[in-house]
């Protein structure tokens, strides 16, 4: 396993670049545990100081150190994204595998439902949800809502892998040797499906953090919790750009872009590594 990672790092530029970006972001996240200021407090340092040695990314108009605020914000956003991704994995993998393997009517019905969810625009519905819940809205609730709406795209990808597996020889062998459907799914197919599940998880993390940022910026989440989105929300509230406090906006935007690109590169390079066809193409050119 380690050898695979080392080979990937050495020979695949995307993987190397992606891992570096992700490691930088993770470094910032880990730093959050050593923050000298309690993250929810405001006016602990003089406001609006540009980046300097005392305050690496400067301070914002609420009197908080931007660097330490960012580290906690990134941590919260990342945790949120990971929880949504994990919860929706359960649904996508279940639907994808069952649909791809069992096929027939079950497949058609599941895919119809799947395509329905893919088409429905999420933002208005989530906004409506927030509108109804208002003060009763919590991060957990939001995560659940997003997870129950964000599984279909990945379910389709997993289903296509399951479909191609179903027709391979080792599946017919397993059936003839008397393995039950559940056994086949868990023991034979899962190892092949895991790489694509992993790469869709990374993409889903990107997607959920993106949606969180969007909702927070408009003020539709709990704005007291420091996240990337709420940081930008507060920056907008204090008209940071106009007031010239540009570092308040730049820090979260740059960090989150680094993370998006990093995770994306990782998921793409993992996919390429697994897919035998791209392997051949990369060798020849």
């Amino acid at each position: 396993m380690l050898k695979v990672l080392r080979d990937l790092f050495r020979h695949n530029r995307e993987f190397a670049f992606g891992s570096i970006l992700v490691l930088i972001v993770l470094g910032i996240v880990v730093a959050s545990f050593f923050s000298p200021y309690p993250p929810l407090d405001s006016y602990v340092v003089p406001p609006d100081i540009p980046p300097s040695w005392d305050h690496l990314f400067g301070t914002n108009s609420r009197g908080q150190d931007v660097f330490w605020q960012l580290s906690v914000a990134m941590r919260n956003s990342l945790l949120f994204g990971i929880s949504v991704a994990l919860i929706s994995r359960v649904i996508s993998v279940a639907v994808g595998l069952v649909s791809g393997y069992v096929g027939g009517m079950v497949d058609r019905v599941l895919m119809s439902i799947n395509d329905t969810f893919v088409v429905i625009p999420l933002f208005p519905i989530l906004t409506l949800f927030y509108f109804m819940m208002h003060d009763h809205m919590s991060w957990a609730l939001l995560a659940l809502a997003m997870a129950s709406l964000g599984w279909p795209y990945d379910a389709r990808l997993i289903r296509s892998v399951a479909l191609s597996l179903r027709n391979r020889e080792f599946t017919t062998q397993s059936i003839f040797s008397g393995m039950s459907t559940r056994q086949i799914l868990l023991e034979e197919h899962l190892p092949y499906v895991l790489p694509i599940v992993f790469s869709t998880t990374l993409n889903n993390i990107n997607w959920s953090i993106g949606l969180e940022v969007t909702l927070s910026v408009i003020g539709l989440t709990n704005i007291e919790t420091p996240t990337i989105g709420t940081m930008i929300y507060w920056a907008n509230q204090h008209t940071a750009m106009v007031a010239g406090v540009w570092w308040w906006v730049l820090a979260p935007v740059a960090t989150v872009i680094m993370m998006f690109i990093g995770l994306f590169l990782l998921s793409v390079s993992m996919n390429e590594f697994i897919d035998p066809r791209t392997r051949l193409a990369r060798m020849g050119v």
């Binding site: 080979d7 050495r10 020979h11 392997r279 051949l280 990369r282 060798m283 020849g284 050119v285």
Partner: protein, 339 residues
């Protein structure tokens, strides 16, 4: 030059370098042969013996990671070696002088274009005819192959497998090229259609007078269509001669086994399989590549590869167990000479 095609010492390998691991698959390893005018030269051999790669090389259909590492290929209608030509000249001679009947025509026709448009793409630029004259010629060719002109407006998925194969033959022969390469055209078809296609192919070749290389692993097809037969094993040519002679008197142990395994009516002897498996072309055995499975193998077979030499006028074999006749020895070069 007399021969329609002359191949000398051709070597083509698949060279891959992935994640720091370099691998060389020696699919075509030093092949020398020639095809006469108006003759059908058959190439036989098991799967992964290199016949398809040989075909790609001779048809100038090389794609990375396949690379030509040495040797020459000369056609009678070209002045220079095939791989010395530039893109433009190569595109000019394609189809007009050198065409290709592909393997299993399931997917060789563009699924979003009608058959008529495929003919226009492939043949029209070479023929220098007006549009209606062009389609007259096309219709003629279709009729010869027992296809109705109405298929021209169809899409490929609307035709049956046999019809698509016949369309492929029509496409390949409509320009009346000097040389046609056929790569397992009958493999995916059922026996009845196969017979039909073979008959049509033979008829077309006779009508146009082109030379042909016909590749298939099925020896019985070769018995019906090839004038001369070349047997390939693990990237090398191991026996060659008139088809009739090779069948009646196979000399190489591998060919002997192939011919013996063909079922014959009234023959009740049990058939035995050759021990072992075809060798890996990435790490072929030393010396003669057949030696791990050969009942006659000796020390020299394990050490050096036997050359393909003329053992009898008109016959070449690569085996230490087969000695050339005095007449053959009298010839100073190993090039095949018509008797």
């Amino acid at each position: 030059m007399d021969a329609a095609l002359s191949v000398q010492n051709l070597r083509a390998y698949y060279v891959t370098d992935y994640y720091g691991v370099r691998r060389e698959v020696r699919a075509v390893d030093d092949i020398t042969l020639s095809v006469e005018k108006n003759e059908i030269y058959g190439i036989a051999g098991e799967s992964s013996c290199g016949k398809s790669t040989f075909i790609k090389t001779v048809a100038a259909a090389i794609r990375p990671p396949l690379r030509v590492l040495g040797g020459s290929i000369k056609y009678s209608f070209l002045e220079r070696d095939l791989y010395d030509l530039d893109e433009k000249t190569l595109a000019d001679i394609r189809w007009k002088h050198l065409s290709f009947i592909p393997q299993g025509s399931m997917n060789v026709l563009n699924p979003v274009r009608r058959i008529r448009e495929s003919f226009q793409d492939f043949a029209f630029p070479h023929m220098r005819l007006g549009r209606s004259e062009f389609f007259d010629v096309v219709n003629q060719r279709l009729e010869r192959l027992h296809l109705s002109p109405s298929i021209l407006t169809a899409f490929p998925h609307e035709l049956s497998g046999g019809m698509r194969q016949r369309v492929a033959i029509a496409l390949a022969t409509v320009c009346r090229p000097e040389f046609i390469i056929a790569d397992e055209p009958t493999t995916a078809l059922d026996v009845v259609v196969q017979k039909d296609v073979l008959a049509l192919t033979l008829e077309t070749q006779r009508e146009i007078g082109s030379s042909m290389i016909f590749v298939t692993h099925d020896l019985t097809v070769h018995a019906n269509i090839s004038n001369r037969l070349g047997i390939m094993y693990a990237g090398r040519l191991i026996e060659e001669g008139l088809t009739r002679d090779v069948f009646r008197n196979p000399m190489h142990p591998y060919t002997q086994h192939l011919v013996a395994s063909l079922p014959q009516i009234g023959d009740l002897t049990p058939k035995t399989a050759l021990s072992g498996a075809p060798p890996s072309l990435a790490q072929p055995p030393s010396g003669c590549r057949f030696h791990p499975r050969c009942p006659l193998a000796t020390d020299i077979c394990r050490q050096t590869n036997p050359e393909l030499i003329t053992v009898v006028p008109g016959r070449r074999v690569a085996c230490y167990a087969v000695m050339p006749s005095p007449e053959a020895r009298a010839m100073t070069n190993d090039k095949f000479q018509p008797s």
